[in-house]
C-alpha cells in the first residue's frame, strides 16, 4: 500500500459533544444531592461541598486548618485509627480548603461504600481536633513554609496574589507563621461548629452509581435535621493599581516571574471569549508564549498563562521560571506577545488550530465519571448550568480574529499588568 506521509489525514471536528449531565435526586430533608452515573469500574466518589466564606485572612487560615484536620480524631477514634479504617477499605479522603468553599471527597470501591460513608459521616460530625495532632500539624507546616520560601515559583505566586487582591483579602493570602501560631483547639472546634451545616451543602456522587449508593447517602444524610450556617460573604477585593515588585531571593540561579491582574468572573459575558484568547497566549503547548520563549529562544523549561475564576471575580496570570541572565529578555518577549494579540489579527490557520484543539480538550475534560463531576462542580459553584457548555461550543464556532484583538485590548493590555519577579 502506497501512502503519502506528506499530506495529513483528513480532519473531522465533532460538531456537538455529548455531555452526560448530573441528575438531581430528591431527598426528603431537602439535601442537595446530584448523581453522575458513568464508567465501568466499581468505584464511587462522593464530594461534599460546603459554602463557607471567610471574612478575612485569619478566618480563612483557621477555616482551612480546621478542614485539613477534620480527620484528626473523633471522641471514639484517634487519627491513626481513622486512617487505618479508611486504608483497610482501600478508600481515601481528599480535602480542599478554599476561601469560598471547602470540600471533602471520599473515593471508595463500591463494595465498601456503605462502610466508608458511615466512617466519613462520623469523622465529619464528631471531629475533636486533639492537641497532639495540632502540635504535629504546626511543626510540619512551619517547616514546609520555610522550605517553600526558598522556591522562587512559590514566592512569585503568593506575592502576586497579595498584590492583585490585597494584603488582607483571603484571595491574597500568603502563608505565614502568624497564621500557624494562631491555631488553637478552641478556634478549630468553633469553625467546625459553624461551617459544616448541611442546608447549603452540595453532594455530588459519581462513578458507577446504583440505588445502593444513593440509598447509602440518603440513609446517612437524608433524615437528619438540616442545620444552616451563618452565611459569611467574602469582601469584594479592591482593584489594586498595577505594580512592579521584586522579591529578592539570594543565590538563586533562576527567577520566578508572575505577570497578570485581577480578572472577570466565569459568569461575565466576556469570560468565554477571554478563555479562548488565553489559550492562544499561554494555554497550550503550542501557545505563543511557549513557541516564542521556550521553543524559539530556549529561555525556559516552561511558560504558561491561565485564568483563575472565583465566584465574583478572578485572576489572570502568566507564569514561568527563567535563567537570571535572560530574565529581562524574557519579560520583554512576554509583553511583545501581549501587544501582538492586541495589534495583529490572529491568522486563520492558528485560529482553526486553537478551535479544534479546544473542542478536543473539552471532550477530554468530560471523559470519565470523576471528570464529569468536576465539570459539573465548576458550573454549580459559579451559579451556572449546562447551557454554559453550549455557549462555550458556540463561542468556539463563531469567534473571529477581531473578537480576539478586542478582548485582548480590553482585558490584557500590558499597562494594566502587575509584574512580580522573585529571584
Amino acid at each position: 500500500m502506497s501512502i503519502s506521509r506528506i499530506t495529513p489525514p483528513e480532519l473531522k471536528i465533532p460538531e456537538s459533544v455529548a455531555v452526560l449531565k448530573a441528575e438531581k435526586i430528591s431527598v426528603s430533608n431537602g439535601l442537595s444531592l446530584y448523581v453522575i452515573n458513568s464508567g465501568n469500574e466499581d468505584v464511587v466518589k462522593l464530594e461534599i461541598i460546603f459554602p463557607a466564606g471567610c471574612s478575612d485572612q485569619m478566618s480563612y487560615a483557621l477555616s482551612s486548618t480546621c478542614h485539613q484536620l477534620i480527620d484528626a480524631g473523633t471522641s471514639r477514634m484517634n487519627a491513626q485509627t481513622i486512617a487505618e479504617e479508611f486504608d483497610y477499605y482501600g478508600a481515601y479522603l481528599q480535602t480542599e480548603p478554599g476561601a469560598d468553599f471547602k470540600s471533602i471527597s471520599l473515593f471508595s470501591l463500591s463494595r465498601f461504600f456503605p462502610s466508608t460513608l458511615t466512617l466519613l459521616k462520623e469523622v465529619m460530625d464528631d471531629a475533636i481536633f486533639p492537641e497532639s495532632e495540632i502540635t504535629t500539624w504546626k511543626s510540619r507546616n512551619i517547616q514546609s513554609l520555610h522550605v517553600n520560601r526558598e522556591k522562587v515559583s512559590w514566592l512569585a505566586k503568593n506575592h502576586f496574589n497579595a498584590s492583585v487582591f490585597g494584603n488582607d483579602h483571603p484571595y491574597g493570602f500568603i502563608p505565614d507563621e502568624k497564621f500557624i501560631d494562631a491555631v488553637t483547639q478552641e478556634k478549630l472546634q468553633e469553625f467546625h461548629k459553624t461551617t459544616y451545616g448541611l442546608e447549603n451543602a452540595i453532594f455530588i456522587l459519581s462513578g458507577k452509581i446504583t440505588e445502593h449508593e444513593i440509598n447509602a447517602v440518603t440513609t446517612s444524610f437524608g433524615s437528619i435535621k438540616m442545620t444552616s450556617d451563618k452565611q459569611v460573604k467574602l469582601p469584594v477585593p479592591a482593584h489594586s493599581k498595577p505594580e512592579k515588585l521584586h522579591i529578592p531571593k539570594k543565590d538563586s540561579i533562576q527567577s520566578g516571574l508572575r505577570i497578570g491582574k485581577q480578572m472577570l468572573p466565569k459568569s461575565h459575558p466576556d469570560f468565554l471569549k477571554l478563555s479562548v484568547v488565553n489559550t492562544f497566549l499561554g494555554g497550550y503547548f503550542g501557545s505563543r508564549l511557549m513557541s516564542n520563549i521556550r521553543e524559539d529562544k530556549g529561555y525556559t523549561y516552561g511558560i504558561g498563562s491561565g485564568l483563575v475564576p472565583y465566584p465574583g471575580t478572578g485572576s489572570f496570570f502568566i507564569s514561568t521560571e527563567v535563567g537570571n541572565d535572560v530574565r529581562t529578555d524574557a519579560i520583554k518577549e512576554i509583553y511583545v506577545e501581549l501587544y501582538r494579540l492586541i495589534n495583529e489579527p490572529i491568522p486563520q490557520a492558528e485560529l482553526d488550530l486553537v478551535k479544534n484543539y479546544l473542542v478536543g480538550s473539552f471532550q477530554r475534560s468530560l471523559d470519565g465519571p470523576f471528570s464529569l463531576a468536576d465539570r459539573f462542580k465548576g458550573l454549580i459553584l459559579h451559579n451556572l448550568d449546562y447551557t454554559y457548555f453550549d455557549q462555550y461550543l458556540e463561542t468556539l464556532a463563531t469567534i473571529k480574529p477581531e473578537d480576539i484583538a478586542e478582548m485582548a485590548a480590553k482585558h490584557l493590555h500590558p499597562d494594566s499588568m502587575t509584574e512580580i519577579i522573585a529571584g
Partner: protein, 412 residues
C-alpha cells in the same frame, strides 16, 4: 479485568489494543525501550534530551505538535532510567492523524540543528529549575552515585552535569536514533474507542512500511553486591537538615518485588503507616518521612527520606529510622496490617484503570517487562504475599552493609 488483544507486525512492532466504546477518545502510547541506563558515563542525560528532540520535526512532517493540536489531540512524554514513553489522546474521528504523526517520527527525524540548539537550552533550564534551583533538588544527584558505583543508575535521567547536555552533537543524536528508535524496540498500545480491526488496518498501513532495525544487545555493567555502609555528608543553603537512606533491593521482574513494594507501603503509605505514626507523631523524631521503592528493571533501591524535628540531629534520626525499619526484620507484620496495605494497592489499581491513558501505559509497561498479561495479575501477585515473605525480604534488604546514607545538612 482489562480485556486486550495483542499482535506483532513483521518489522517487530508489538501492538496491544484495549477497546472501550463508551468514550469518544482514543489514548495512544508508544514506549521505546531506551533510558538513561543505556547511556555512557561521558554522555549522560542523552535519552532525555532526545525525548525533547522527538518534538522537533520528523522526516516528512516539519512540526509534531501543530497537526496533533489541529486534530484536537494532546500529548506529552517522559523519560526514566529504563524507558522513554510518548503518549497522546485524540478524538476518535481523527485517530489516523495520530498514526500518521507517530509513524513518521519512528521512521526518521528531521535532525534539525536549530531544534537541537534550542532544546539544549530548554533542557539546561529544566536542569536548573528542577534540580539546581530547588531546595533539596540535587539530593538525587548526590544519592545515585553514592549507591551505584558501576551501574548507570548512578546518574539521573537529567544527566550528571549540565555540560553533557551542552556538548551533545547532531551526530550523537543520529546514532542514538538509529540504534534505539525502531519498531523492534517499541511497543504501541491503544485504549479507547478503537476496534482491533481498525487498529490492525491502521498500524499495518502506517507502521508496517518502517524498516526493522538491528536487535539491541545490551551490555549494561551490573552493580556488584555492596559490602559496606557508605555515608555522604553535604551542606547546602537549605532551611533544614534532611536525611536520605537507601538500600539495594531486587529488580522489578523478581518474584519478591511485590513483597518489597508492600514493605514500603507498611512503612509509609498514608496516615496509618508505621513511620508516620511512630517517628513523626509518637517519638517526634521527624516532621516528615517517606519510603518507597523505585521498581527499576535492573536491581533497584528502597529509599527512605525525611526531615528531622527541631533539636534532633541527622545521626539520631538515622538511628531511629533504622531501628523502626528493623522491626520488619525481627517481627512478622500482623494479618490486618498486611491486608490493609494489599487492599490499598488493589484500590489504587482499580482507580488507575479508569483512565485510558493509564491503561495504555500499563499495557505497554507490562509488555516491556515481558508479559502483557501481568497487567491483570497484579492484584493476585500482591495478594499472594505472606507475612513470612515480607520478613524474609526485609531481612535480605535491611542490613547496614547494604545501606547508603546521605546527610544533607543545612548551612544555617
Amino acid at each position: 479485568m482489562l480485556q486486550y488483544e495483542k499482535f506483532t507486525l513483521s518489522n517487530g512492532l508489538r501492538v496491544i489494543v484495549n477497546t472501550d466504546t463508551s468514550t469518544p477518545l482514543v489514548a495512544m502510547n508508544i514506549l521505546y525501550e531506551v533510558g538513561a541506563r543505556d547511556e555512557t558515563p561521558d554522555k549522560t542525560g542523552f535519552a532525555h534530551l532526545f525525548e525533547h528532540l522527538m518534538f522537533g520535526g520528523s522526516v516528512n512532517i516539519p512540526n509534531y505538535d501543530e497537526p496533533l493540536q489541529m486534530a484536537g489531540g494532546e500529548n506529552n512524554a517522559f523519560t526514566n532510567n529504563d524507558f522513554t514513553n510518548y503518549y497522546l489522546t485524540i478524538p476518535v474521528q481523527n485517530l489516523e492523524t495520530a498514526f500518521w504523526l507517530e509513524s513518521d517520527r519512528m521512521l526518521s527525524l528531521a535532525f534539525s540543528e536549530k531544534s537541537l540548539d534550542v532544546q539544549r537550552h530548554v533542557v539546561v533550564e529544566e536542569f536548573r529549575q528542577r534540580y539546581l534551583n530547588q531546595p533539596y533538588g540535587d539530593a538525587w544527584l548526590l544519592l545515585r552515585p553514592l549507591a551505584y558505583k558501576t551501574h548507570p543508575y548512578q546518574w539521573a535521567t537529567i544527566g550528571k552535569e549540565v555540560s553533557h547536555i551542552e556538548n551533545a552533537s547532531l551526530e550523537d543524536v543520529k546514532s542514538f536514533f538509529h540504534k534505539y528508535y525502531h519498531p523492534g524496540n517499541a511497543i504501541l498500545t491503544l485504549s479507547g474507542n478503537i476496534t482491533i480491526e481498525t487498529a490492525k488496518t491502521l498500524t499495518e498501513k502506517w507502521f508496517g512500511p518502517i524498516p526493522a532495525g538491528n536487535k539491541i544487545i545490551r551490555n549494561i555493567p551490573q552493580e556488584p553486591k555492596q559490602s559496606g555502609k557508605r555515608i555522604a555528608d553535604e551542606t547546602r543553603e537549605v532551611p533544614y537538615d534532611s536525611l536520605y537512606k537507601c538500600w539495594h533491593c531486587g529488580k522489578r521482574g523478581d518474584s519478591d518485588f511485590y513483597a518489597t513494594d508492600l514493605i514500603t507501603d507498611v512503612l509509609s503509605s498514608g496516615k496509618s503507616s508505621r513511620l508516620y505514626n511512630r517517628l513523626v507523631k509518637d517519638q517526634k523524631i521527624f516532621t516528615t518521612i517517606n519510603a518507597y521503592t523505585l521498581g527499576d528493571i535492573d536491581p533497584s533501591l528502597i529509599v527512605a527520606e525525611g526531615k528531622p524535628a527541631a533539636g534532633v540531629s541527622l545521626e539520631q534520626a538515622e538511628e531511629a529510622l533504622t531501628l523502626e525499619i528493623n522491626n520488619l526484620v525481627h517481627h512478622a507484620v500482623d494479618e490486618r496490617e498486611l491486608n490493609k496495605v494489599k487492599q490499598k494497592v488493589e484500590s489504587g489499581l482499580v482507580f488507575g484503570e479508569m483512565n485510558h491513558g493509564n491503561r495504555a501505559l500499563n499495557l505497554a509497561y507490562y509488555e516491556m517487562l515481558g508479559d502483557v498479561n501481568l497487567t491483570n495479575k497484579q492484584v493476585d501477585l500482591y495478594r499472594a504475599v505472606t507475612a513470612e515473605d515480607i520478613q524474609k525480604t526485609a531481612a535480605g534488604i535491611f542490613t547496614e552493609s547494604n545501606s547508603n546514607v546521605l546527610f544533607y545538612r543545612s548551612k544555617k
